[in-house]
Amino acid sequence: MKKMQHNPKNKIVISAKNIYKSYKTKNKKIEILNDASIEFETGKLYAIMGHSGSGKSTFINTIGLIDTFDNGSLELCRKKIAHYDDDKLSKIRMENIGFVFQDFKLDNNLNARDNVIFPMLINKQIPKKERKNIANELLEKMDLSNRADHYINELSGGEQQRVAIARALANNPQIILADEPTGNLDKKMEESIFKFLKQLTKGEDGKCIIVVSHSGEIKKYADVVYTIEDGKIIGDNCED
């Protein structure tokens, strides 16, 4: 395992220790995560790989607080997640996590800007007047300034995913969780999405980006690559 250099400007935002997670079906118990421990920090792009059914989505849902775990400890932005009620978990998600999905999950009846504004409706920190400006800035960051007024079906797949990334950034979270963000896109678009995601790790406010992907392409962009195997998370050598 390659030693990771620690950049003092980077903060650890996710710290998972000895996580156990299983699904119970009618007659058997499927162990998905088995004593998984891992840390993620800002300013880095992480790739999570593994064969189908290995538990990548389960893992990302668990650290994204949209699924529960059986045992272990999880810290998000220095907050220990334990027995929190739904409202508190919602607040943590709103403040700290942005999700990007394979099939974008955009609202076809709203234009690009309104899709980005939508998560801001629950952010008291953002005044109503500011929403539009913030959305415009985020779309500009994703190189979509001239697409803000377009409806979703008027955009290409790559553009749609960039709108979804802008939406994930709406409430300025430190963590972006992307489960197969390029699964529905062709190779060219995939590259551009990875570039945009990589871009987000740069600068003062560099994010912690965690990308689940089947594609070997991600290795070119990732700072760290993990593989999930038999319920464990294994660090890979990462040749840039």
Binding site: K105, N109, L110, Y151
Partner: protein, 417 residues
């Protein structure tokens, strides 16, 4: 914890609906339901109110016809007068007379009815002057006067209606005939004329009489009808009495009383065909109920579908940090806006058609005493069914939103919305 603001819910709900074709079609269906429901209620209530007005306002529904009691000196007249609730009794010989008037022209056939006018039978609100039993040759005619036998038909030609105010103080002449029996049938013998001065006006809609009915003193009718009969006027047979009762509710009491006093089979002068009325009302009520249940079932389906179709969006909202209460609030408002829009659109369509119908087809009915109006209670009831009931249904479905929708978000399943 609820963070999302009502104004934001409204604005995003409207934004999403603007481009949603499915939403628009469903809205159309619900608007149509609102329209039909409102239409059914309004038809029924106007019908009921017409029937009630007819019964309460037209004196014929509280007038009894009885045969004279031949054993009594005065045919029983004084006995009848003493019955409680009886306000007037008169011989049916001078109940009314149908005569030809000099209003006859190209427009009208000139036939008018002269009704027996007394303190008990005259309409309450008379413009100008009234008369009492000592007066002769005076008449109280309709404000909207239509001196033709056509007046009894529904749907009068509005342009032909005479303005009563122009006639006030003027005289009109009537012609009536005596008859002889030529061995086969009665034939007109001599023509007589008589002049009446119009001293007062009444609104025939209020008392549900036709537009060609004038009230005149009893003696004038008596004179006309005596000339018209073949019998010797001095010994004219009393064919019967008209007994005017103070209200519709007391009619059966008075009828019982009359029977006790030995008058045979008193009958109410005007009776409604209750079986027809009941059939119409039953049909209306069945249709209204069907529409109502239709609306409720449709709302149940629509709202359920709206929630299910939006499972992905609900999951996304949860992932973005909306609390369950935020989401419930959002979808409650979303459904409320939908039903409010359906109500408003449906009501506007109803109102437009109502106004159009009233101005065209139904316009002439107004002169036949058919007062058409919209009942506030119907609006409220429609609002209740369309908006309140569907809100209750939406609360039920929304309460079933759980964390499950969030789990369906990831995993790489391709989802087409």
């Amino acid at each position: 914890m609820i963070i999302v603001k009502i104004s934001d819910c409204i604005s995003f709900s409207l934004k999403t609906s603007k481009r949603n074709k499915h939403y628009k079609y469903t809205l159309l269906v619900f608007s149509l339901c609102t329209f039909l429901f409102m239409f059914g209620l309004t038809f029924r209530d106007n019908f009921v109110s017409y029937i009630n007005n007819t019964i309460t306002q037209n004196i014929g529904f509280r007038s009894l016809l009885v045969s004279p009691n031949l054993e009594s000196e005065d045919y029983g007249l004084s006995k009848i007068k003493n019955i409680q609730h009886v306000v007037d009794v008169y011989s049916s010989n001078y109940d009314f007379a149908s005569v030809l008037s000099d209003f006859k022209s190209e427009k009208y056939d000139g036939y008018i009815d002269l009704n027996y006018g007394s303190y008990a039978t005259l309409p309450k609100n008379i413009i100008g002057e009234s008369f009492d039993e000592n007066d002769r040759e005076v008449a109280i005619c309709p404000i909207n006067f239509y001196p033709s036998s056509e007046a009894v038909s529904l749907g009068l030609d509005e342009n032909k209606i005479l303005n009563g105010y122009d006639l006030l103080g003027k005289k009109f002449e009537i012609t009536y005939y005596s008859y002889t029996f030529n061995g086969v049938k009665a034939v007109e013998d001599k023509a007589y004329t008589k002049k009446f001065t119009i001293i007062g006006l009444y609104n025939n809609e209020e008392v549900m009489t036709a537009n060609n009915v004038c009230y005149v003193p009893a003696d004038d009718i008596k004179e006309i009808n005596n000339v018209g009969t073949l019998d010797d006027p001095e010994n004219a047979t009393v064919y019967g009495f008209v007994v005017v009762v103070d209200s519709k509710n007391n009619v059966s009491n008075v009828a019982n009383e009359l029977e006790k006093l030995g008058f045979m089979q008193p009958t109410v002068k005007n009776e409604l065909d209750t079986s027809l009325v009941n059939t119409i009302l039953l049909t209306c009520n069945i249709l209204i109920t069907i529409i109502m249940f239709g609306i409720i079932i449709l709302s149940m389906f629509y709202i359920k579908k709206n929630i299910i179709n939006n499972t992905q969006k609900i999951g996304l909202m949860m992932a973005s940090g909306f609390t369950k209460k935020d989401i419930k609030k959002y979808y409650f408002i979303d459904n409320l806006i939908f039903s409010l829009l359906a109500f408003i659109v449906g009501f506007i369509v109803f109102l437009t058609i109502y106004i159009l119908l009233k101005a065209t087809l139904l316009h002439s009915l107004i002169y036949s005493g058919f007062i058409i109006k919209i009942f506030i209670i119907d609006i409220l009831f429609t609002f209740f069914v369309i908006v309140i009931i569907s809100s209750i249904i939406s609360i039920y479905h929304i309460s079933k939103i759980t964390n499950k929708s969030i789990i369906t978000l990831t995993g790489g399943d391709n989802y087409d919305s």
